[in-house]
Structures are given as structure tokens and as C-alpha cells.
Symmetry: C2
Subunit: 328 residues, 2 copies
């Protein structure tokens, strides 16, 4: 029996989910829902229908898990509780400080419906959260550091695009290797934002725009750039398309701790990702989570969950006996 | 309410567990059981009684989880099913290919008793198993590699000690960095045992022993050494005690995979440990597992489990709401 999945929102993440489903024999894409005109979407998977988002609820009995592929700013706070009342859902809500309220809204809707809502899946939050929780459980006396990149930050790229005279931009978050290495060696250094990451900006300016002003506005932008060492490079639209079309990302969660009655032994744990495509990797995590949600709901679980609540074996298509025999 | 833990077997691992319990406010060491004369043991934790192993079962109502700290060769295959009939137990059984039969024996006993037996905890099997399962679930098309070290292998050290004329020995398993780096870059190289690890031996020979013969016997020992490049260094007992007293270890689980409809994007996941003390780290994992076992059994679960069955949040002393707010 396959897990029948529908996707709501066919942007980069929705496409990444579609590609991930195609790699898993036990998962099946049964529909895509969109707020655009359905006739304008061209799916990669043959034979899968595209419907207007308003029609999604009609299909609730034909869908085991609905993957919500919208954005965290405005889409998911509304969509997740709304669809949780009808479907098992999975989202990648990533506004870290609003997770408790998002959880509460999804939990109420999912409990009432007898469904599961799995929120904040992906890699951060998601796999990085797992790394933090495992490392803290094993090494209660220690210190965490998370480094991101080298990778494209959509939020920072968007912030640059809002500056007058900017036509397009790509911002890379770059971890500072010396800091990563010091943490890796277990030195537990005290690190400011500036010590941990550089920000590298590739900007296409409008003809005649004041580049010195644009550069100054980027470098002094509060929160986004002012606490970092930032480099700004002006390039043509063609160069941006040629050299910066991808969406790579990654990073490391590190925890250095001590054990022993005299805290005499240093122990360190690192979880690292290196990703050519952020949306395809995130989509792959969501697809595995859909499998787990389907199994958990079949077993009678309901309400809002996070990846911290999922027994690891439930994410896998491989039967438990085989996992014990070959992966343990 | 604290989780009341007893330890059976007070060797390096038992001591590591004791040190870990002392780092966790919600865990309490209530007894140590030993097959030696209890009066010969000196615990670090004040006020904890030491009893002969035969008396353990008398204390079953005063112990929430019994941590079995014996060896995988002869102790655990007998002890785990025997104590599973009376206690929630946790072991670090690490004979990978015998896990299915160990699981079956523990499962029958634990189910009959209404208890949980959690087997094969530690870091490999244990945290490395988690890394393999998560990485395979997210990247179904890819390839795993596990590297161990630089660290002391007890099995290989013991094998050298059994050679005639050897008084003592320490063997380090050393990962070959060029191989690790090639896997990290996502090249998916085909690697033999020799390509992945070196074996470095520090040997104390008896006076007048034939060192050339000892070196030859080490390097040609089937399975343990013959498939590897091995170096042998003869040193004095004093040098061994001074320079090789620790039990460091570690390693990396790497998975390189591809995503996208044309498998056009490389993605890589790495989980890495760097440990000053292998037994203290393993003991720390077991202590966290004891917490999870206690919670799972209180919720009504029974039978044999592995770390692949544990919701990650159950390993943590931090309440679920706080994990969601600060760790997700």
C-alpha cells in the first residue's frame, strides 16, 4: 500500500517534493493543488492532475498526506491549521520563534479531526533540530554552535532586491572556517555573529544607479547585514543567471561537551550537510516525513507533532527487521 | 520523579555510566551489582550500595532501569534475556550480525514481563545507526561509508596480546584522510578495507622475545590485520602507560546521494564524533537511553526496542514544549 501524497504549492519546494516522491517506490503523488491557473503548471510526473487550491478539500479521502509547500511568512500560519482540519499535513514552517503558536493552532485542528500535523520539517528546523536534541541529551554539559552555508539565503537576497536601483541579487551566507575549526577542536570559543559568518552579495544594478549608495545601504542594513563582514560585487544579469542560478546550502551543528567526574574528557559531536540544492533536499526530508505521518496516523496517533516525536524507523521505507539487521 | 538506575558490571563502561548519571539531575544511581567481591569496589558516587550480582533480582521494585555493562561476547547474550524478565534493561550489545537473535531473545522475555529491553545502544551501534537510518530515509539513492577512529580498538589490542612474547599492546584504528575527503566531496569512490583505515600498533614485548616474529604475526593475522596497512612500534611498559592510557575514539558516518529528476544534484550528510573517552561517551548514551526507556514503559510500551524506535524527544531531560521553543 503506497502513501498517497498531494502537494499544495508548486514553487521550488513543491518541485523538490515531487522529485523526492519519484525516488521512493512506496510514495505516490496523486495531486498538486495551486493558487495559480492550473493550466499554467507543467508537472514532471506524468498523469498527475493539477487542481485549484480551493478544490483540495474535495479530495481529502483520496489523499493520505498533504504536503504544504508554501512560505512561512504568510502562507503556512493560515494554511496549516486550515488543512489540518481535513488532512494529515506536513509543513516546513521555519520562523523559529513562532513555532509554539504555530504548534498550538495546528494541534487543536488536528486533534479535532483525528489527523496528524507535522510541522517545521526540513533541515533547519528539522535534521539540525534532531542533531541538537540528540547531542544535548548525550552531552548535557556542553555548548552548541550552528554554522550555515556556504549557501544562498533567500531572505537576505530578497532584502537586497528591495533596495532602490537593484534589479536582482543573490546573497551567500559563508561560515568562517577558522571559527568552525575552533569549535570542532572543542575549544568552545565565544563567537559573535561577525566571527561566525561572512555575507557575500552579488548584485545586478539598474543602469545609472548609484552603486556606492547601494553598497552602503546593503552593508548598514540592520539585523540582515550590519553585524557581519559583508562583500558586495556588482555583476550583469547574464553573469547572475550563468554563475548563481543554483540554490546550494548546508552547514554544521556542533556540540562540544565534557564527561567524567572531573569533567576531564572532551567529547564532540558534529552533524554536517553539504547541499547542491536546498529545495530538493528539503523536499526529500518532507517526503520521508509524509511516510512517517501516514504510519503514525494509521496507528491511532493524532495532533501536532514535530520531527522530535517521530521514531526514526518510521521515516524509513525499509522494514524494522531489516533496519535492525543491516543498519543498526 | 527521578529515574532510578542500577548498573550491572563495574568496568570501564559501568564507570562511564556512573559519571554520566552524575551529570543528569533527573537520573539517580541506586545500586551497582557486580560478580566480583562487592567490598573490592570503590564507587565515585557517595552512598550507593554495591551488591553481588546474584542479589539483583531482589531489588527489582526499587530500580526503574537496569543498565547492563558487560561484554557482547559472553555476558550480554545471557544477561539481557535473563534480566529482561525482571527489569527494564538497556545494553550496548555490539556484535552487529547477531543483533537479530539477541533482539528475539530479549523481546520474548521483556514482553512476558511487561518491560522494555533496549539493546545495542552506544555510538556504533547507536548514534551511528541513527545517522545511517536518517540519511538513507532522506537520500534513498546514494551510498554510505563509515569511518572509525582515530581510536583504540579493544578487540584488536586483545588480539595482539594473545601473541606469544607480547606483554601488552594498544591498537589504534586510523581513518585515511584522503578517503574521508573523497567521500565528503561526494565522489562515491570504491574503497577497500585498506583504502579506508590504517592500523597502528604499540607493543610491549617480553625481554628476549623475537620482535620480528611478533611484527610478522601481527601483520599477517587474518581478518584483524592482513587486509590493512599496519605499523608496529615496540615500546616499554612505562611508555605505554604514559602515552597510551586513554581510550579515545570517534569516526564519521557519511552518505552521499543525488536528488532531482535527472539526479543532477549531489547532497551529502555527515555525522561525526571525536571522543576523548569512548567508555564515558558510550555511558552517556546509555544514561540518556535509560531515561527514554523509563518514559516508554510508563506509557505502556513493552518488548525489545532499539534506538531506532525511540522518539528523539524521549532521550532528553528537557520538556517537549521547551524543546520545541528552543531546540527546533
Amino acid at each position: 500500500m503506497k502513501t498517497r501524497i498531494a502537494i499544495l504549492g508548486y514553487g521550488n519546494l513543491g518541485k523538490g517534493v515531487e522529485a523526492a516522491i519519484a525516488q521512493n517506490d512506496d510514495l505516490e503523488l496523486v495531486a498538486v493543488f495551486t493558487r495559480r491557473d492550473p493550466s499554467t503548471l507543467k508537472l514532471h510526473t506524468p498523469g498527475v492532475p493539477v487542481y485549484p487550491a480551493e478544490q483540495a478539500i474535495r479530495m481529502k479521502d483520496a489523499v493520505d498526506v498533504l504536503l504544504l509547500c508554501g512560505g512561512s511568512a504568510t502562507d503556512l500560519p493560515v494554511q496549516t491549521p486550515a488543512y489540518a482540519a481535513h488532512f494529515n499535513v506536513v509543513d516546513s514552517f521555519d520562523t523559529h520563534k513562532k513555532i509554539p503558536e504555530h504548534f498550538a493552532a495546528a494541534d487543536a485542528a488536528a486533534r479535532a479531526a483525528g489527523k496528524i500535523s507535522l510541522i517545521s520539517c526540513g533541515w533547519d528546523p528539522g535534521l539540525f533540530s534532531l542533531a541538537r536534541v540528540y547531542a544535548n541529551a548525550v552531552l548535557p554539559q556542553g555548548k552548541d554552535e550552528t554554522f550555515w552555508g556556504r549557501g544562498v539565503s533567500q531572505g537576505h537576497s530578497d532584502a537586497i532586491r528591495r533596495i532602490e536601483g537593484v534589479l536582482d541579487a543573490r546573497q551567500y551566507t559563508v561560515p568562517i572556517e577558522a571559527a568552525v575549526e575552533a569549535v570542532r577542536r572543542g575549544e568552545q570559543p565565544v563567537l559573535t555573529a561577525r566571527d561566525k559568518h561572512l555575507r557575500e552579495c552579488w548584485v545586478v544594478a539598474a543602469e545609472g544607479a548609484d552603486k556606492a549608495r547601494i553598497e552602503r545601504e546593503i552593508k548598514t542594513m540592520p539585523y540582515y547585514f550590519d553585524e557581519y563582514d559583508t562583500t558586495v560585487h556588482f555583476i550583469s544579469a547574464e553573469e547572475l543567471a550563468r554563475d548563481h542560478a543554483g540554490l546550494p546550502h548546508g552547514g554544521s551543528v556542533l556540540r562540544g561537551g565534557v564527561t567524567g567526574f572531573d569533567r576531564e574528557h572532551r567529547q564532540s559531536i558534529e552533524f554536517r550537510l553539504k547541499l547542491d540544492s536546498n529545495p530538493e533536499f528539503t523536499g526529500s526530508v518532507l517526503a520521508a516525513c509524509a511516510r512517517a505521518v501516514h504510519r503514525m496516523n494509521r496507528e491511532g496517533m493524532t495532533g501536532c507533532k514535530t520531527i522530535l516525536d517521530i521514531p526514526p524507523a518510521y521515516l524509513s521505507a525499509i522494514p524494522d527487521e531489516e533496519l535492525r539487521a543491516h543498519f543498526l
